[in-house]
């Protein structure tokens, strides 16, 4: 290999590493400061103290907020603040969906993700 190619390789690795590192670093900083969906019942402050609820809020923002609204008060999908279903029923609904109404997330989310989402949904009603 020629000298210019080696020089190019070093520059390529440095710049590529900086760009990727910059994006991942920025993502980490922004994520740590990101606000979770607000709650009607004022559980936000206590929710942010619980890491599982905070993790559920992130999952909710990415997967559910499209239809249930960014504050989970409902949009296309229903308000989730006063869900009366059991935890198992909520998990089953998330995993299998509701025909014609809600998509199934069984292939997208893990069992742990779904359990975390249930914790977040429960936190919305202060339970």
């Amino acid at each position: 290999m020629m000298y210019i190619e080696v020089k190019g390789l070093i520059a390529a690795l440095l710049i590529s590493g900086t760009v990727i590192g910059g994006f991942l670093g920025a993502a980490r900083v922004v994520q740590s400061n990101i606000a979770m969906p607000s709650s009607k019942s004022g559980v936000q402050s206590s929710a942010t103290k619980d890491p599982k609820v905070a993790a559920g809020a992130k999952l909710f923002a990415f997967n559910c907020a499209h239809c249930h609204g960014v504050d989970a008060t409902g949009d296309e999908g229903p308000d989730l603040h006063k869900v009366k279903k059991t935890d198992e029923r909520i998990k089953s609904t998330i995993l299998n969906g509701v025909k014609g109404e809600m998509p199934a997330f069984g292939k997208k989310l893990t069992q742990d993700d779904v359990a975390t989402l249930v914790v977040f949904i429960r936190s919305l009603s202060g339970k």
Binding site: M1, M2, I4, E5, K7, G8, L9, A11, A12, L13, I15, S16, G17, V19, I20, F23, L24, A26, A27, R28, V30, Q31, I34, K58, L59, A61, F62, A65, H66, V70, P103, A104, F105, K107, K108, L109, T110, D112, D113
Partner: protein, 147 residues
């Protein structure tokens, strides 16, 4: 009613990400194809044209990848890792984006002053990038269509 604060919600970034990702994927594949063809045609004007087109499409792919990555990060609330299919998508997104940037930098510095072995290594790298970015696109599609 239109609410300004909802304009940049997940639904908006969903559409921007979907719209912006196809360009870099297509251009990376085209660049790999052009450089591959350029390496087998006899040296001369044809080879130069293929290599120039390969470089130009690679440059556009790298530039196009930046808004695609930013819109993806906005969509996931800056979660660069995620879980489930999102995690699989990210396993391929970050290496392919890194390779794309590295290759365009290398190509911009070296230009036509490549040795035979240097360009062969480059070809392997761009073909790897094309595969990685395609797999990333596949998992991205799975997220949209198969959930």
């Amino acid at each position: 009613m239109f609410i300004a604060t909802n304009f940049f919600d997940a639904g908006f970034w969903d559409r921007v990400h979907g719209g912006s990702t196809h360009l870099p994927i297509a251009l990376a594949l085209t660049s790999a194809l052009l450089d591959s063809v350029g390496s087998i045609v006899p040296s001369g004007k044809f080879r130069e044209s293929f290599r120039f087109s390969g470089y130009f499409t690679l440059l556009l792919a790298a530039l196009g990848a930046v808004p695609a990555v930013i819109s993806g990060l906005m969509l996931t609330n800056w979660d660069a890792v995620g879980s489930g299919v999102t995690l699989l998508h990210h396993y391929f997104v970050w290496p392919s984006f890194g390779l794309l940037i590295a290759l365009v930098v290398w190509r911009s510095i070296v230009r036509h002053r490549t040795s035979r072995i240097g360009f062969s290594i480059y070809l392997v790298a761009i073909l790897t990038t094309a595969v990685l970015i395609s797999v990333a696109g596949f998992w991205g599609g799975e997220m949209v269509l198969n959930h």
